[in-house]
């Protein structure tokens, strides 16, 4: 079972794949999203989104600015105005 993760920038869909866990820098603190997370919406502060492909693996970090995260039935969607790297 995997979490469907999408990272969307205004100009394009940056990432769309199935991962194990994503740690998102929320405005009120970081939160990790695993598969089957309850519906949730949060603004995010400028920082790095950490993508864990597999359990216990080394995370891949993606810098985002001006973002917003939404967890719904079909996984996690991060909308970010600026995506680096």
């Amino acid at each position: 079972m995997a979490l469907h993760f999408e990272l969307v920038a205004p100009a394009k869909l940056v990432r769309s794949d199935d991962v194990h866990m994503v740690v998102v820098p929320g405005t009120d603190g970081e939160f990790g999203v695993l598969e089957g997370h309850a519906p949730f919406m949060s603004t995010i502060r400028d920082g790095a989104v950490q993508v864990f492909k597999t359990e216990g693996g080394t995370p891949e970090t993606i810098e985002v600015r001006g973002g917003f995260a939404e967890v719904g039935e079909n996984g996690l969607t991060v909308l970010a105005e600026h995506v680096e790297g």
Binding site: A9, P39, F40, S42, T43, E70, G72
Partner: protein, 293 residues
């Protein structure tokens, strides 16, 4: 009757014009493909943001709604944000946009409202200045930018929101071309600020009845999302403009190339005829001279 030499000169000049229009047409076709791909790629972001906005806007309503959603309460001062292209050679595109903007302005003025213009792109400046010179608020120049993108949309949106917050206008409309096909680009007028409430049936798409928790809170999120939504709208308009410009340019240049071809054919026939006439006259002269001997 023009002399042979003159005709030859004209044929050559039309030929070189045709070469230019043909080149421009091919460039536009290549750029159109890229512009369409860019517009396509921007769609997921806009769709998701609209979905989230719709579900949030339906929850936050009444007095607590942010100013960008609820408006200032008045509708006296209107701002028309007109998105034109920076370059010409694209047929009637800019004329159509300006026509739509002027029609909207006339309708608003007839209702007794104040109308100001906020121009994006070079080609709208002159025709609007002709009729509403004193009403032009600002001209946002995009001609220096090679690839128009999100930073420009962001700059325009920030400027507009700042003006809105200072109370310089109550309602902003966005006038921009919507790209239908290479043959048709429809000028469209949309309300930009205050953000019109999106249809609530989009809620179903973003999780239905499931209880969604918000962090920090619905209002805070909405407050942050609204400016972003305005930016996305503008970004969409700029991308549409780009695709429309290339589409219109391609069609216009295709027509121009064809017209030049027709003209060349006509001139060539005329040229051949004059040449033949000259030869015939010469022959008659020789024969007549020989007979006289």
């Amino acid at each position: 009757m023009a002399s042979l030499k003159e005709l030859k000169g004209r044929i050559n000049s039309v030929k070189s014009t045709q070469k230019i229009t043909k080149a421009k047409q091919m460039v536009a076709a290549a750029k159109l493909r890229r512009a369409q791909a860019a517009a396509e790629a921007a769609r997921p972001y806009a769709e998701r943001l609209t979905g989230v906005m719709a579900s949030l806007a339906s929850k936050v309503s009444g007095d607590s709604a942010p100013k960008l959603l609820a408006g200032t309460g008045a509708d006296q001062r209107h701002l028309l944000v007109v998105v034109n292209t920076d370059k010409g050679l694209c047929g009637g595109l800019n004329a159509n946009i300006v026509k739509a903007a002027k029609a909207k302005a006339r309708a608003l003025i007839a209702e007794g409202k104040d109308v100001q213009f906020y121009l994006v792109g070079k080609k709208g400046r002159a025709p609007i200045k002709r009729d509403y010179a004193e009403r032009i608020e600002k001209h946002f120049d995009t001609s220096e930018v090679r690839n128009i993108g999100f930073p420009e949309a962001e700059a325009i949106a920030d400027d507009l929101i700042e003006r809105f917050e200072k109370g310089e206008f109550d309602i902003a409309h966005l006038v921009y071309p919507v790209f239908k096909s290479a043959l048709a680009q429809d000028p469209t007028v949309d309300q930009l600020i205050p953000v019109p409430s999106p249809e609530t049936d989009a809620t179903a798409a973003t999780g239905g009845d499931a209880v969604v928790s918000y962090e920090p809170g619905e209002e805070e999120i909405l407050e942050e999302l609204l400016p972003r939504y305005v930016k996305t709208q503008l970004f969409g308009a700029l991308l549409e403009r780009e695709a429309s410009e290339q589409g219109a340019s391609m069609t216009a240049m295709d027509n121009a190339t064809r017209n030049a071809g027709d003209l060349i054919n006509k001139l060539t026939i005329q040229y051949n005829r004059s040449r033949q006439a000259a030869i015939t006259t010469e022959l008659i002269e020789i024969i007549a001279g020989a007979e006289a001997l």
